[in-house]
């Protein structure tokens, strides 16, 4: 194995670093956005809820190219968001790291929201009502009740989000292209290597991804089992 990775080029290492950076940022942003969203979905009685839930699940069914296509239109120089940014003297977001980060956040949203929503529903409102009657405010409830009770689901949501972003390809290719150090993540680089007939290099990176994805999923399912046992106790 060490010999295998010894032959990685600086470009490969750059793509690995970029991929990890993208996964990390996506996970952090999604935990911050997904927690309140899942919370709202678990409590809301409003008719809007069904619509929001469908939108959250869209990335599961849409081809990534469709998602990437619309994001490209939206974030590009002539899109609503990109155009506005240009007018403000900033640059549009297509073919940039910020652009693919936004794409990843949307693409991996269901992988954060689903496990959290599930565990919030399982917990129910009672523990929070109890905490409130004992003098705990909203934020206090989040840290002293929700986080410890749904700990397992937070870990699973974070891991799944990270792993799913690792495997992202279509959205990034559509929206970010393949700019080294900016948007050329592992999956895109593997594609480039293959196109250029560099099968050996593509093979190294692919094998690395297979192994790391397996390890991540192994951990997730292990945790899942453990937390299920805890929940049964």
């Amino acid at each position: 194995m060490p010999e295998l990775f010894a032959t990685l080029s600086p470009q490969d290492w750059q793509a690995i670093r970029l991929t990890l950076k993208l996964c990390f940022y996506t996970t952090v942003i999604l935990l911050l956005l997904g927690t309140p969203l899942a919370w709202w979905l678990s409590l809301s009685q409003s008719k809007l809820r069904t619509a929001i839930q469908a939108i959250v699940a869209l990335p599961l069914v849409l081809p990534p190219t469709v998602l990437g296509f619309y994001l490209l239109l939206l974030l590009g120089p002539h899109g609503a968001v990109g155009g506005t940014l240009e007018q403000l003297g900033l640059s549009h977001l297509a073919f940039s790291f910020s652009g693919i980060l936004i794409g990843s956040v949307i693409y991996s949203l269901p992988f954060t929201v689903q496990p959290l929503l599930e565990s919030f529903r399982r917990m129910g409102p009672r523990p929070l009502e109890v905490a409130a009657t004992l003098g705990a405010g909203k934020l206090d409830q989040l840290f002293s009740v929700v986080l410890p009770l749904c700990r397992g689901s937070f870990i699973i949501a974070a891991t799944l989000t990270f792993a799913h972003t690792l495997g992202e390809f279509g959205v990034i290719l559509m929206l970010g292209g393949s700019i080294p150090g900016e948007t050329q993540v592992l999956s895109v680089l593997i594609y480039d290597h293959t196109e250029a007939m560099n099968y050996a290099q593509a093979q190294q990176l692919s094998l690395g991804l297979v192994i790391s994805a397996f390890v991540v999923l192994f951990i997730v399912y292990g945790l899942n089992r453990r937390f299920e046992r805890e929940a049964l106790l």
Binding site: R126, P127, E129, V130, A132, T133, L134, G135, A136, L149
Partner: protein
């Protein structure tokens, strides 16, 4: 302390209309059939549900009025829910201190953790996890936890409903102890008349989303709605100690002797006043005192009225004993045979009494 509540609510066919002031002293039972709106009212008082246009005032504190709504965690309440509500990721000790550790710095601490742990006999449970406890133990911990948040008002939402008969009778003495020793007013939601009669001082009777009457329990028991469930009376008697396992009691000038309660663990706890629960069907009446009867508790009472009983052949006779009401369930035939009239002095033979 007075609790004023104004609450109007329409949910499909169910409507709740409350505009009442409830004087809170000791244990006030909020009694009514399932689905009459008791829990909805209790949750509105606690602030767990926010209903538009509701008004809640507890003593001097305004908890809800027009746009003002004090959130639950800022109301000085302790609440015990119907089913186990211990936080599962905390030990018993951590659960107990959850509210205590969150008290404002200037809170006057009236109940220390040691006191509550002793009062509710929680010492052996402290290091256990909630899932290791029995239903009754969990409710005891939940009670202790609520008490330690130093509440102005203790709200109990059917705290015994999820318990089996044995756990129920295990936890009742603790509720009685809390009521008599802490002085914190309690509002107890219940649809079990038995529990209410063992605990409550005041009774608020709810029916179809309305409060139809309220007042001291002994008087409330005369309400036809309650008599229909099981006519009984509540007498308060002074204790004069026990001799040969017989508890000597007095009501006014009259004496009673009853088998003394056998509480192994509460031997040191001898109340000066007992509550006597007497089923109306356990009271017989005679025009003259009986000397050749096995019934030893014979009280001189006077007839204050007659009420219809659930059964068409029976009548509830209202009696007065040293100012306290007592009910006897007789057949109409007996009432006619004895020529009973209002104001008539008469002898009541009491066949069975439950002592609390």
């Amino acid at each position: 302390m007075t609790l004023s509540v104004q609450l109007t609510l329409q949910r499909g066919a169910f409507s709740l209309q409350i505009n009442n002031s409830l004087p809170l002293q000791g244990v006030t039972a909020l009694f009514g059939r399932s689905g009459c709106g008791k829990t909805t009212l209790l949750r509105a008082i606690a602030g767990l549900d926010c209903h538009a246009d509701a008004e809640v005032q507890c003593g001097a504190a305004i908890w809800q009025q027009s746009s003002r709504f004090v959130p639950v965690h800022q109301r000085r309440i302790g609440m015990v829910f119907q089913e186990s509500s211990l936080l599962p990721h905390l030990t018993v000790a951590q659960n107990l201190l959850y509210g205590f550790n969150r008290l404002a710095k200037d809170t006057l601490i009236q109940l220390q953790p040691e006191q509550v742990i002793q009062l509710l006999e929680l010492t052996p449970l402290l290091q256990q996890a909630p899932e290791q406890l029995s239903g009754g133990q969990r409710q005891r911990v939940a009670l202790g936890r609520a008490l330690l948040s130093q509440p102005q008002l203790l709200l109990l939402d059917e705290p015994l409903a999820s318990l089996d008969q044995q756990s129920r009778s295990e936890i009742l003495p603790f509720l009685q102890r809390i009521a008599s020793q802490t002085g914190i007013p309690m509002l107890l939601v219940s649809h079990q008349l038995d529990d209410v009669v063992k605990l409550a001082d005041q009774l608020v009777l709810m029916q179809d989303g309305r409060i139809i009457s309220q007042g001291p329990l002994a008087q409330q028991l005369l309400q036809p709605e309650l008599a229909a469930i099981g006519a009984m009376s509540l007498l308060h008697a002074k204790s004069h100690g026990s001799v040969n396992h017989l508890q000597h009691l007095s009501i006014g000038k009259q004496q009673l002797q009853l088998p003394a309660p056998q509480h192994g663990d509460t031997a040191s706890y001898s109340p000066t006043c007992y509550r006597l629960r007497i089923q109306a069907r356990d009271v017989a009446l005679s025009l003259k005192p009986l000397s050749d009867s096995s019934v030893s508790n014979q009280l001189q009472v006077s007839i204050s009225g007659f009420n219809s009983a659930p059964h068409p052949a029976e009548t509830l006779v209202q009696l007065t004993l040293a100012g306290q009401p007592l009910q006897a369930l007789l057949t109409k035939q007996s009432v006619e045979r004895l020529c009973l009239k209002i104001g008539q002095p008469i002898y009541a033979q009491i066949k069975a009494v439950a002592l609390d």
